[in-house]
Point group: C2
Chain length 330, copies 2
């Protein structure tokens, strides 16, 4: 059973292949009777068009790449899930491209994006993204970045209001009576990372607290390192804000191994609001990024950017997800 080609359908339906093509791609351009007949014949043969041949001919496809550094990071996994759904609704196929944070791999995917005639794409960075790396590809406003970018960057971006997110976390802790709040970084290079960190410092100053930042390692490991220091510290802060949920997981885990209990000994707030956080021990209080919304906006902005050539910047509002890793200061 060989796959039927357009020519086979045309022969079976007794029309020219251009008519078959139109019946599928521009149905209004063919007489209804003819169209129905052609479509019926095609269906009976199990015919579908070759996306490859279509892409080659029209120089456009419905493949949209999402370029992420690491799919085992639950934030990117949730983002991918949301974007896949959003892309699917609009008739696109999301192609997940994982770079392992390697610039060569990224360039490879951008190249592939062009050779596959992708209409647009989305890139979510983990560390500093150098616009010089992708501007040569000339995607312009057809490539959206999931991060804040430098003010002189002229492509579309979608991000969350990180300053507000950190404020949500900080205010929550202050309201619980905490007067000494530390910050664990653990993400590096992105504007997102810088924004969160700076927001923390500003807030600490504004509240007359001495800022205390731990900034060793990346991800869960950063949390573990911070826990070491916290465990051995006199005048330990009563609360910690982690730059993201994975950092918070590592922190809580290592705190527990050292006999420190969350939230009894230390309150912890994460950032991301991952679904997995609900299954933490304790369930993690976290600044929730509207990931589904980010996915949808990412696709929307990319599509609009491809149409209009205009680069929009969307900043989404975070919410505080209060679960059980924060409690009143003792």
């Amino acid at each position: 059973m060989t796959t039927p080609r357009i020519e086979d359908v045309a022969a079976a339906a007794g029309v020219h292949r251009s008519t078959v093509s139109r019946a599928f791609s521009r149905p209004e351009a063919v007489r209804q009777e003819t169209r129905d007949h052609v479509l019926r014949v095609a269906a009976s043969m199990g015919y579908t068009m070759s996306p490859l041949a279509q892409a080659l001919r029209t120089k456009s496809s419905t493949l949209v790449p999402l370029i992420v550094p690491d799919i085992t990071n639950p934030f990117f996994a949730e983002l991918a899930k949301a974007m896949r759904a959003a892309a699917g609704e609009r008739g696109y196929q999301l192609v997940l491209c994982v770079t392992e944070n390697d610039a060569t791999a990224t360039a490879g995917y951008l190249h592939a994006m062009r050779s596959m005639y992708a209409p647009f794409g989305v890139i979510a960075p983990l560390t500093q993204l150098d616009p010089a790396e992708f501007e040569p590809f000339g995607f312009g406003s057809r490539l959206v970045v999931i991060d804040r970018m430098a003010p002189d960057y002229h492509g579309p971006t979608v991000t969350v209001d990180n300053v507000k997110g950190i404020r949500l976390a900080f205010d929550h802790l202050v309201a619980l009576g905490h007067r000494s709040i530390a910050y664990v970084a653990g993400i590096v290079g992105t504007h997102t990372a810088a924004d969160r960190r700076e927001a923390y410092h500003a807030l600490a100053r504004a509240n007359d607290m001495a800022p205390l930042e731990f900034n060793e390692g990346i991800g869960a490991e950063a949390g573990e390192r911070a826990a070491e220091h916290l465990a051995n510290m006199d005048g330990r802060p009563s609360a910690v804000i982690a730059a993201n949920d994975v950092v918070a997981f590592g922190l809580i885990s290592a705190l527990g191994s050292r006999g420190l209990s969350v939230p009894n000994d230390v309150s912890v707030v994460g950032f991301d609001g991952l679904a997995l956080g609900a299954s933490g021990n304790p369930p993690l209080t976290s600044v929730r990024q509207p990931i589904t919304e980010m996915g949808r906006m990412g696709i929307e902005l990319a599509e609009r950017g491809a149409d209009s050539g205009r680069a929009e910047h969307v900043v989404l509002r975070p919410r505080l997800l209060i679960r059980s890793s924060t409690g009143v200061a003792r």
Copy 2:
């Protein structure tokens, strides 16, 4: 700056396009001087071949689909990571296809696999996979399944020795003095799920224990439900084996919310050995699936199956990863 085509390179190099094609695809078929010259000219123009046109012409591509139900499930995320690396090493591009466990979506990807001329593919199921759903596509031994399949299934498979895995967990708990060990299912339909469950029951019987199985809900929720029951139970088992790590996370979290501490009150063993388990509170003891190995074997079997038409079945050995969620029975 328009992308150069093969004809542009041919013109610039003063040869026919067939020579350019050979210089790239069958370098031994062209005189060395000519080849070097062509390649140099091509490089100077930033030329690369169109994978689209190549695939259309040769009816083969290097795109290999990995079909998974849910990328936010860390097991599939880790599998995807491993497979991407394995595929990349062999010159293939892994295309991640997420089905959300929907049969229509799966069929769509299998269809795409054919129309993209994928040389082979890999599918990792979450629930029962009905061979009837994909056998019509006629992939034969070019589609490997990451699960044990029914004995009469004739495609290649790679899976872990689940019986042995459960035994590892069980024996570990028995060695710690546990005489009452429960099981939380939380995965459903796959042969993997059935094998783990049955192994537990067999082991309980062999050790003269009354089997106690919790089987409500899926994933983390299954763990939470089990925790409810455990918290309200007289003669609570001192240890629990969870069907996978995500179930274990939910279990430990909900146990904690009810004032039960792991491993002091209950020991918990997971299954998967996710990296994330190391950042659990406490770090999760788990039966480690050799995910990297599974990824590599999956690609290898698929490639060999495509070449030879033979379907191999690989069963990998699990290991016990002893972390901190298990302790001696009180």
